[in-house]
Structure formats: structure tokens, C-alpha cells
Assembly symmetry: C2
Homo-oligomer: 495 residues x 2
């Protein structure tokens, strides 16, 4: 079989159920998978099945979110004691919020750094999806790299899932670079989005490969929604802003390397660039979505660097069936590198991420509904926003048919502080916060981003807070009142 | 005069009052000065004097805080329309909090990056304190580098204050490195705290030097207080923790490059290392305080890299009078480099910074009293904490004779999120938050860091919040009640 090219490993081929037996109660397990792409599929399913009969619990680390309802199956089977660093599953979310699964919400660039420093327990075993194992016994990932390389390096044993559903031509797409150990760490040599600095496969001692499982199951399609009037409005405001930046001489017509968070709004913004005047664009992002390939097809995007490819059903066959068409314009990197502060700062990324809510001073909540309930996790937004050339956060100005304003007096949870947020955009407009003091930020945000139904109440809050004083004026008795109203009456404001 | 070694510049020597006339109403002015060290002194004083008769307003950018009551004088004279990126003056603080001065509170590594990208208005004029101007017309800074190099490079005109009160032997201490422009920026080549990567003086076109003012006024002495029982307790807990890290094999006996924020607590912690078992220590910090030199004298510290030297009156004559004794163990860098995320992440800094308050989930407020009133600014704490090997925050568990608990249900302002905080220390004990979920963090913090008077009420809040649920359990109606009590009754809890 040309997918396992080191013959000595052929006797490691076994069923998923047998391989799953290598995972024992109490273990820490590192699995491939990033934004529902390239996750190991059969072994976690087998593990969940076994756990239904014979209870066991593990700490599960991944790159980011898993597809194929794996987090749901593992949660329902009671397998997850601890989970990091990101997830998007509604069943797991419920378990996190009722306190039955301990979720460690991390900057996506930091998990393997903490492992490398032994600040987190190293994985006992890694489960990595691959398109092939090379002649040297090295692992060629599939549609994501995520944390797979470091998990495989750190784990004592590795289970490889060879997924026949993936195009073997994915080989050559990956660039595996692992930072050297401190105190003799050297600079990450990456100075351009298209530069290759590593190896095409994950170099490990093949003796660590304890099992090989052959699978044939596709990635889950992305759940991105098509652009609507509001997301189109957000895209339009942002493109006008970029045009003004070019006119002001702060960017060229190539903009800068673009990063777009996962999800419908960021995808819509990227789609908006198709009909823009900008040319020869590049991406340095985590996830490459449909919009990446739409931009390539439109001749707008010269190169895209990511850690995963997550496509809709429509786009999937199209891209992976014609991979040669795209291959020289793509690279997939470990998430430590795709999100690395050193590289983000050096390249001058334009980071576009989605906010759950933001407040009149520009603090952003990306994670916690009502200050308490985890939605997904901070993901890579902090990796990018802190060091970006432009840290942009986007959201629709209202939610739940107007019951909720996405702009509030004080956010109920802070993921990105006022110091790290440059630009806020809703379908109402764009607030440019660069170089502004808090009172000035509030004026720009209330004027530009707030839905008309909430503008007067926010202005009133701000005016009364200013009368009381402070660098960042607030009325502590009222600061959370909109969230309390929502919790107690189902609306932020009495109608 | 050997202090101005380019003879053509001698005719630029003038009085401070004449030089100050170069600063016009509405200008943006970049001045030297970082942690009350190396600030231009005579020109801002002359500017304040002039403004009392002839009102004018400027935007003032510095490295960080100024000494010699300059911010007070400039505020009282009505000179400051806008001020960035940091300050510590009580008069200016009042003006910031009543809204009469617009203060832009920034990560100290980011100001010049935003200038370089034209996201802030470039300084019209720079005012830089120097020990000398070289034969090439380059500027040799004094006791701080701060943002002086980039201000001098960006400004159209430069006023140099040659301060005769500084030891001319400071020349050779500085290492001026300026990152190259995007999109062709290269890695910062620094891989060791003691490495020199730049030039000993600020290279500018000497034709930009519009005025030279000769001064003779020392830096203000630091206001650091000697260690007390509480700061000693904090130091003791931290040293025990470091010992355990060494035992666990996560650090060597040399620890890692240390960063310590300005102020009495961080200084006391560093002093605590004198009697520790650790050897061959190094610092990669912003400000070098008395403790740095105490550690060198004790044979504990092999090298210290900073952006400024700020000493007590006692230590000042001692260090600067015997500079040869220390010079090969010191380097002063631009604050963009001393605080650069790329370097901080590469070197694996142990960052020790002071919190104003933190909450049971480990979010840290470094800046805002009662969520509204600015104290000083975030300074470099965010530059270090986000990318440090260990992000440590320290504070005394109570303030104002027990009216205030430094540990609260929810912080009233967030500067450092749960994602960026590894270790919290008060005199009560140390909470190691690495790898913990929020509910686990709360247990560690309540058990270890809280003053006994506040432990039961915090535990009660946490228990009731957990009963309600959520990944980060909170009761929004009570979350800020301690701050509201303080504001309204002078105490966080009824006594």
C-alpha cells in the first residue's frame, strides 16, 4: 500500500477498536483536528463506544474543534474529564457549562509551548490522521496540521489513522516547523507568507507508531452561512475603510497578509474582497474557508498560509478534486506557527475576528454568553489581535430579533482589552479607535456601530457616566444591567 | 566641549526658553523619559513656564513616566491636550480622570510600531536628553532609551538636552536597534539577554538637530519603598515556587530571564532572590531598579538588560559613581525591544508584575480603580504577560487597612485575561493556575491568595455562582457589589 511506505510498519495495521485499547483511563491524549478538519475519526468513535460499556475518562487535547460529532460522542460517553484548547460542539458546551467537563480555553498558539515547558502534562498517546506514512516512517497530515506535530513528538506512542477519503496529493502541502528549545531558541525564519521553513511530514521515530488504522470517512462540511444583508454591510464598511487606508498611504493596494476567524461573518467579509479594487492579496490565517478559494479563483489572492482547510460540501469536491490547481498557492503549518506572535507582529497581519459583544470603550467579549456560559473559546483571536497591524472585530449590531444589542455599556467578560482593539465594525458602520482615549472611543462606537434602537440608551449611559468622571467612565450599578435584564426578562431593554 | 563632538552643531546651543519656542501650539512632541529616568528636563519646564503666559496645547508622547514633576508642571500649565503611553503623576492623573487630558494607555512596545505605520500622528519635534552628541552627530541617551530613538528618527526636528549631571561614561551602555519596515521586516536577531544587536548611539541626520540645551539636573530618585512583612511574604512564596519548579525539572537553577515591573512589590521580590539558592541569574526587563544592582553586588546576577535605570537616592551615587563596575553587565535598549513580544516569547521570560486587583478566575486589573479611575497605565505588563514563560502577578491581599480586598468576585476592569495569567501571589500564598479550568482556578485562588477576612464571602459567592452554572460562574447582580459597596460606603464588605 503506497499510503504506508515503511514496510516494517505494516504489521501495526489493526482495527480502530483494537487501537483504541491503547488509550487507558486517566491518560492524556493529543488528537489531530483543527476547525473540524483532519481530525482522527475512527479511534475516538471506537473509544466512545467502548466507554459506554466500560467507563473511562481522559484529558483530550486537540488543535481546535473536531468534526463528525466526535466531541458530542465523547461527551455523551462520559470520556472527557478535561478538554483543551477549543471546541464548538453544543453537547460538549453544555457539559462545560454545567461543570462536568473541565475546559481549558487557550490561545491556540500556546498549548504546545506549555507542553514543551512541561507546564501541561504531556500526552501519553497521540492519535493523528494522515494521508500517508513516508519511507522514513514520518507522518503526512491531512486537511489540518493543528497541534499534530508536537503531539506526535511529545507522546510516547502514536496511533495513525490513514484516511483513504483524503486525496493523497495533499502530501507536499504541509510545512512542519518546530521552534527550538529555550534557552537556545533561534528566531523563526519566516519572513513571507509563502515561505517554507520546515519539512513536508512530521518527523518522529517510527518505533513510536503503535497502531495504524485505515479509515475512509470525509471531514464534516463547514457550517458557514452565505452572506446576508448584514454581513454584506460589514464587508462593505471594511472595504471602504481599506480603500481609505490605501489612499492615506498606510497600506498598499495589496493590503497586508489577511487573517479571518472561522465563521460566517469573517467568511462574508473575505468574499467581499472579490469585487474590491485590491489585488495580489495574501492570507496568513488559521483556517482557509470557501472564501479563500473564491478569492484564488477570482485571481485576487496570490497565496494562502493556514493551519487547516475547512470547506462547505459544495466547495469540497471542487477544491480537493482539483488540488493541483491550488497547491502552489497554499501551505498548511502547525498552529503554533500560523498563530505565532513573533510572525504575526513581523508580517503585519490584518486580523479580522468575530466578537460576541463589545462595549462602548472597545473591550471585546469573544467567548462568554452573559459573562458565564462558554460559547466556543477564544481560539486564535488573541494570538492575532495583540500583535496585528490592524486588529479588527466584527459582529452584527443586534441579535435575537433585537432583544440583544452587541454593543453594551460594559462587556460581561473580557477576552480582548481596549489596548488590543483597533477597529470595530457592525452593519451600522465602522469605528476607528486608533489613537483614541476611552471617552473618544465611546463617541466613535456609539455614533458608528450601535443599532438605532440602542443608540440613545447607550448615549445616555455614557453621558451620565462622564458626569461622574473617570478615565473610563462607568456607573457600576448599571454597567451590567443590560445583561441582567436579558437574563431575567429575555431582553436587554424593556420594550 | 567633548559632550558635543560634531563642531558644526555648536551654534545650535541655546537656552531652554529659546529651544522651547520651537514647540508650537497643536504640535505632537516626542520626549525622552522612561520610569522617571532620562527625561528631557529643561525644555518641558520652559514650555510650561511659557504656557502660563501664552496658552498652548500639545500631544505629548514619552517612553513612559517622567520625573522632576514634569507631568505635574505641564498639566498645571494646561499644556497637555493628549498624553501617551504611560504616566504616574498625581496631578496629571486627576486631569485624566476628570476628562481634561485625553490619555492613551498603551502597551509600551506598541507606540513606535503604531507611529511607524502612521497609525498615530508622527511627532513634529523630539526632545531627547543625552550625555553626548557623537562626531557623526548621533545622540547618546542617558539613563533611559525608551522611545527616544524612534522619536528622533520620526521627528522633523530634534532638541537635544545635554545633561552634565549624568556620568559621560553612560556612553557605550546603550544598544539601539530599530526593526526594519514591513513587508520586508527580518527577525530581531536577539537570542540572549546580553547580546548587542544595534549601535551605541541614535543615528539621525544631524541637520535635524535644531537646538542643543545644556542642563545640569539629576533624575528624580525612585520612590520604591523598602520591603515590609507583606512584600517579604510575597517574595518568600515565589521563591518556594521557583524552587519547586527547579525540583520538577521545569527550570534550571539559573531560572530564566527575569522581568520585574516597577514598584515596591516587584523590587522586594527581586531583593528576595539575594538570599535564594539560585545562581547566575539574568534580567530582561524594562526598568532596572535598586534590586538589580543589589543582585549584581551579591554575585547573583550575571547580566541585566533594560530600557532604563531608576534608582533610589542612596543607590544613585553608588551605581553611577562606579559605573565601570557594572557596565559590562548592563545594556539599555529601546522599549520596543526590551518589551518585544517576539523576544519575550523566544527567551522565555519570567514576568513579575503588580496587580491592582484580580478576581477569583484570575483576570487582572492593573490600571483602573473602581473600574473607572486610571491609576498609571498598563505599561509593559501586557507585553510580558502574554508571551512570558511564566506570567506572574503579585499584590498584597488587602488595602486601606482591610477596607479593600485585592481579590474580588469580578474585576471592575480587565487588563490581563484569564488566558494570560499563570501565577498569582499575595502574602497569603500562591495560586498556580497553569492548566486549570475556571472553577479550578477559583478554588486555588480562594484557598491560597485571599485574606482570611474575605475568604468566606468569596467562597460563598463562588458556591452560589456554581449552583447557577456556567463555565465561569458569576452572579451578575452581585459581581460588582464589592466595588459598589466601596464606592458608596468606603468598604467592600459591611464590617
Amino acid at each position: 500500500m503506497h499510503r504506508v511506505r515503511l514496510p516494517a510498519l505494516m504489521d501495526k495495521v489493526m482495527s480502530a477498536a483494537d487501537a483504541a485499547l491503547l488509550i487507558e483511563d486517566g491518560m492524556t491524549v493529543g488528537m489531530s483536528g483543527f476547525t473540524r478538519a483532519g481530525e482522527a475519526k475512527a479511534v475516538p468513535q471506537a473509544l466512545a463506544e467502548r466507554a459506554r460499556l466500560q467507563p473511562l475518562q481522559i484529558t483530550l487535547m486537540t488543535g481546535a474543534s473536531l468534526g463528525n460529532d466526535l466531541d458530542k460522542q465523547l461527551t455523551e460517553a462520559g470520556v472527557l474529564a478535561r478538554r483543551m484548547p477549543f471546541q464548538v460542539d453544543s453537547t460538549l458546551r453544555k457539559a462545560i457549562n454545567d461543570g462536568s467537563v473541565m475546559f481549558i480555553d487557550q490561545h491556540l498558539s500556546e498549548t504546545v509551548e506549555q507542553l514543551r515547558n512541561h507546564q501541561l502534562k504531556l500526552p501519553d498517546i497521540a492519535v493523528i490522521e494522515a494521508v500517508a506514512i513516508t519511507e522514513q516512517g514520518h507522518i503526512v497530515p491531512t486537511t489540518s496540521v493543528g497541534n499534530s506535530a508536537s503531539f506526535a513528538i511529545f507522546a510516547k506512542r502514536i496511533i495513525v489513522e490513514i484516511n483513504m477519503a483524503h486525496n493523497p496529493n495533499l502530501e507536499g502541502l504541509h510545512d512542519i516547523y518546530i521552534p527550538t528549545y529555550r534557552p537556545t531558541r533561534t528566531p523563526i525564519p519566516l519572513t513571507d507568507v509563502q515561505q517554507r521553513i520546515g519539512t513536508p511530514a512530521i518527523a518522529i521515530d517510527p518505533a513510536k507508531i503503535a497502531a495504524i488504522v485505515i479509515t475512509n470517512q470525509p471531514d464534516s462540511p463547514s457550517t458557514v452561512l452565505p452572506p446576508d444583508a448584514e454581513t454584506q454591510g460589514i464587508a462593505d464598511h471594511l472595504i471602504e475603510f481599506f480603500k481609505a487606508e490605501v489612499t492615506a498611504g498606510r497600506m498598499t493596494n495589496e493590503l497586508g497578509p489577511l487573517q479571518a476567524g472561522i465563521g460566517s461573518i469573517a467568511n462574508a467579509v473575505m468574499c467581499g474582497l472579490i469585487d474590491s479594487p485590491f489585488e495580489n492579496l495574501s492570507m496568513y490565517s488559521e483556517v482557509l474557508q470557501d472564501s479563500t478559494f473564491d478569492l484564488i479563483d477570482a485571481g485576487k489572492l496570490r497565496f494562502a498560509s493556514g493551519s487547516s482547510i475547512t470547506l462547505s460540501g459544495r466547495r469540497n469536491a471542487d477544491v480537493f478534486g482539483n488540488l493541483d490547481k491550488y497547491k502552489d498557492k497554499l501551505v498548511l503549518r502547525p498552529q503554533e506557527i500560523s498563530n505565532h506572535p513573533e510572525v504575526v507582529r513581523r508580517l503585519g497581519i490584518i486580523g479580522i475576528n468575530t466578537a460576541l459583544e463589545f462595549d462602548i470603550y472597545g473591550n471585546v467579549n469573544s467567548t462568554h454568553v452573559g459573562g458565564t456560559k462558554m460559547m466556543n473559546g477564544i481560539g486564535g483571536s488573541g494570538d492575532f489581535a495583540r500583535n496585528a497591524h490592524l486588529a479588527i472585530f466584527v459582529t452584527k449590531s443586534i441579535a435575537k430579533a433585537g432583544a440583544i444589542s452587541s454593543v453594551v455599556p460594559m462587556v460581561s467578560h473580557v477576552d480582548h482589552t481596549e489596548h488590543d482593539v483597533d477597529i470595530l465594525v457592525t452593519e451600522q458602520g465602522l469605528a476607528d479607535l486608533r489613537g483614541l482615549a476611552p471617552r473618544e472611543r465611546a463617541r466613535a462606537i456609539i455614533e458608528n456601530c450601535v443599532h438605532p434602537d440602542f443608540r440613545a440608551p447607550l448615549q445616555d449611559y455614557f453621558d451620565r457616566a462622564c458626569a461622574k468622571g473617570g478615565h473610563t467612565p462607568h456607573l457600576l450599578r448599571e454597567a451590567m444591567s443590560w445583561h441582567i435584564n436579558l437574563e431575567e426578562c429575555g431582553r436587554m431593554l424593556a420594550s
